[in-house]
Symmetry: none
DNA sequence: CATGAATGAGAGTTCATTCAT
DNA sequence: GATGAATGAACTCTCATTCAT
């Protein structure tokens, strides 16, 4: 067993190395500059080698996306710490917005681009988002158990909150807000104000 | 004057023909397949000819986007007809969602892709979205004048409603909802339910 | 006659306007940016109009070259004023070098590029250079009449002087001197020193 | 090690094949017709393959230039054989002129065109010309040690000789001599006579 | 396991030029 | 006389991917 285990471990390590390089490239250079070639160069392997670990660019991007979601979860773990679920809900929202602002390229990959979603087989759920969504779901469940929200269905509640947050962040990331007469500072204020307002609306 | 008028009209018609070809291509084949070359082929002109009417791909896409916004406005004009602003607000939301579902590629171009936003000069507002946004703004203003909403600032209200709608539609368009365990029908229900819920939340 | 004379004059004026635009463009933007289109734009005519006055780009460039030679002659007229032919010879040389340094794009067109020379028919001499060459020729003739030079044949003398000057200037213009380890200042010194040396060599 | 050596050799051979194709194309068709595409076609590879060996057109041209300089050196080695440096100087000059006449397109690339000089980084000397320049420099040094020349500084001397030779050859290559009333034979005589005369001038 | 070599496909763009009007 | 419209023919370059070794 020792040998095959080592092999498996080494394979895993290589996959990781590739993903990390890709992730870094994505964050520093953006989508455009992230080509199989460039990733390969970064880890000092040949492009062909990438294909030994990932069947195509989509699968690779899917893994990069996964990595990005890990980072979002870490952000949540760092920021959303209050034992009070209502307070925590606010922390989650702000953490989410901050993440999008800090890593727009990543946010695009996670929630906006078509690209890596093709590698999800039909009828198979999209695992990457699950954990971070659960953070929200749990928080909302606690809130609702305490009767703090005007929602009835927790799943629907979670979807709504996510949609609201995503709406704000993605309009920002895709430059649709800046394009409307607004200074960047104004945009930020508007987003934060929208969140406050929304939290106010859903509070019972 | 007849001549110059005719010339101008012909020029306009040509521009339109290009846009229409681009739009069709966009809707049927998606962004990836929409190249200057392919558009030119479709209208049976040379690629160089396109450049007589549009300075580059970005400008062309910006016009396609404009065209798409016209269609959204038409949809609003068709669907959001009630004199009662509250009813109309619901109509607007549903019209918006229906539009996104019917033309996901266009929706992407309008609100999600980075692509054509480069052709907007700094400090110059993004005109394409203005009119349809005004429809929403007007409706919300009327609602608030009648005291129907729990909002205080109408601009902020409009942004929030837009963000909410966009959040739902764009997650759908980018396949993030389907990817989560959900059947397509379920997705649709969820979106509609979210809207109902949201309208409920903002009603005073 | 009045009418056809006016027509001819207008035609000439138009040709001049084109050339002037082309010349300016050449000097400010360089060869690469000087296209028929850009010239046409500058004088606010259509590209096709250019072809009414010049049969192709080569013929046009040939005229631009002519214009450039006029400027060189003016430079000579300005700089080479001494009645003493030996002093004047030095003035001519320095004027020539200065001209090349000041208008490298023009110099290229005048003496280095293949481009506009095609429009010279076989067995027909190249008129553009004649006048400025005569300035040199005359000066050398005077020098030789006074027995100031170690040359025997004045034509050969003129060719040699021209070749020497052109060798220095063109190596500079084509960046072959800068490319050799030398600072720009050093280059200039070297060129001037070479000239002094050469004048010294030919003085009897 | 055998394998990597072979690989390296093959790579080198491929580079050479590309350069040779480019050189031939250059000599037979001229600069205008020498495109990456055409070179690729000539060696029956795809254009993309070229980019595996040369990063861009400039780098390729720079290598072609290098190749050309090798040929010039060979010409010098062949022609400039006399142990007597003064005789050798004449041989060098004639070899140089002959080379220019035989390969005008190459001469253009070597000494006249702007093109491949971009790939020389700032503050980095232009290596291609070095060796052939050294041949001249050495010869002049020997001459001056024997007190055969009226020069004082050997570097300046070398520059002057080079400039003189280049002036003659480049005016010929760029058709400025033929264009002046002269038959081709006359041109050749004139060039040779100028050289004799110049050598005469510098001889002490 | 890793890769060097190769490529087909295609991108956006520019240009000199022509010609019917 | 002037031009608007159009184009054919290029161009350089990049990419994801494959496959024999």
């Amino acid at each position: 067993m020792g040998i095959s285990e080592r092999k498996a471990r080494e394979k895993q390590e290589m996959r990781l190395r590739i993903i990390e390089a890709a992730t870094e490239m994505f964050m520093s250079e953006g989508y455009e500059k992230t080509s199989i070639r460039n990733i390969a160069e970064k880890i000092e392997y040949s492009p062909a080698t990438i294909y030994l670990y990932y069947k195509d660019k989509d699968e690779l991007l899917y893994e990069v996306q996964k990595q990005a979601f890990s980072q979002l979860e870490e952000a949540f773990a760092r920021d959303a710490t209050s034992p009070d679920p209502w307070v925590r809900l606010g922390q989650i929202c702000h953490s989410y917005v901050r993440f999008g602002k800090a890593h727009p390229e990543m946010y695009e990959l996670m929630f906006m681009m078509r690209a890596p979603m093709n590698s999800i087989k039909e009828n198979e759920p999209w695992r990457n988002n699950t954990d971070s969504f659960v953070v929200l779901l749990t928080c909302l469940t606690e809130c609702m158990e305490k009767g703090l929200l005007r929602f009835k269905d927790v799943t629907l509640a979670a979807f709504s909150v996510w949609a609201m947050g995503h709406g704000l962040v993605s309009l920002d990331v895709s430059c649709r807000l800046q394009a409307m007469n607004m200074t960047e500072q104004h945009v930020e204020e508007m987003i934060l104000a929208s969140i406050e307002q929304y939290l106010n609306l859903i509070k019972s």
